[in-house]
């Protein structure tokens, strides 16, 4: 049976991983990511595109306003990889103060799209580390200890 709910993340290395299946061809799901203002954000958000340049090195900027007309933060980033319809990598940073990051905090989002029986299985990986360099500076050997540690601290 198809499960459309986001899968719990494999976040032992502090990245959030969500896998979702969409009843649409890969191209359509991929293209929707290049124009995300139509759907991005929680339900109380109405996003507006401020800038969109979907090519490698190109920038996007999205204003997340409230559906009630209230102002909200601006998020922006740069496209790192655009391999239609397989893979999309871009950076993600809040330009304005935000509960989950201050201006300049850059994170990375990697999307992969797989064709599965006429549907598209998409995996979103949102990494809390800005650059490959900062990730690589971390000891690989510690992966997996995070969960154990969190358990210890919660005990």
């Amino acid at each position: 049976m198809e499960n459309a709910k986001p899968a719990p993340g494999a976040e032992s290395d502090l990245s959030l991983v969500i896998t979702r299946s969409f009843d649409a061809p890969r191209e359509r799901v991929f293209d929707a990511w290049l124009d995300p203002a139509k759907w991005i954000g929680p339900r109380n958000v109405r996003a507006e595109t401020l800038e969109s340049n979907p090519k490698v090195g190109g920038r996007y900027r999205i204003h997340m306003r409230g559906t009630d007309g209230s102002d909200g933060p601006i998020v922006s980033g740069f496209y790192r990889e655009i391999i239609r319809p397989e893979r999309l990598v871009f950076t993600w940073a809040w330009e304005t103060a935000h509960s989950q990051g201050m201006p300049g905090d850059e994170t990375t989002i990697t999307l992969t799209f797989r064709e599965r029986g006429g549907k598209t299985e998409m995996t979103l990986r949102h990494e809390g580390f800005a650059t490959k360099e900062s990730r690589d500076s971390h000891d690989k050997g510690w992966n997996g200890s995070f969960d154990k540690l969190a358990e210890l601290l919660a005990a």
Binding site: A32, P42, D105, F129, L149
Partner: protein
């Protein structure tokens, strides 16, 4: 003020060391003095102190003076910011992908819309949080 991702980065850097992870695990079973912490390791007290300063800066360990001793205990704050980051984006992307799903359905051709009508609605649990 340290930013959220800088905090997370610092937490993970601090944990990227086997001695420091062992210290954390030792402290998970109760507080200890620096001397007690140093005992199982083949390293000097100053070396342990350096590790403790890194853990303290990452808000993973707190040190308190107790007479001439320094007592150490765990500080959950360091891992807290990492957990909050995950919670925020799990919710953010969860709802965004629900909306993407609806967007793909509403913008698909009518024949496709007929074909898929009523299939996924009601099957997926609606997220309770707003």
């Amino acid at each position: 003020m340290m930013t959220a991702s800088a905090r997370i980065d610092r937490t993970f850097s601090a944990l990227a060391d086997p001695t420091r992870r062992a210290i954390i695990q030792r402290l998970a079973s109760g507080e200890a003095t620096v001397t007690e912490l140093a005992r199982p390791f083949a390293i000097s007290l100053p070396a342990i102190s350096r590790h403790l300063r890194v853990l303290e800066a990452a808000a993973l360990v707190r040190q308190e003076r107790d007479g001439q001793f320094r007592r150490c205990r765990l500080d959950a704050e360091g891992l807290q910011s990492a957990a909050e980051w995950l919670d925020f984006y799990r919710h953010f992307w969860g709802e965004s992908l629900d909306r993407l799903d609806e967007h793909l359905k509403s913008s698909s051709s009518t024949s496709r819309a007929d074909k898929t009508k009523g299939r996924t609605h009601g099957k997926r649990k609606t997220r309770a949080r707003r």
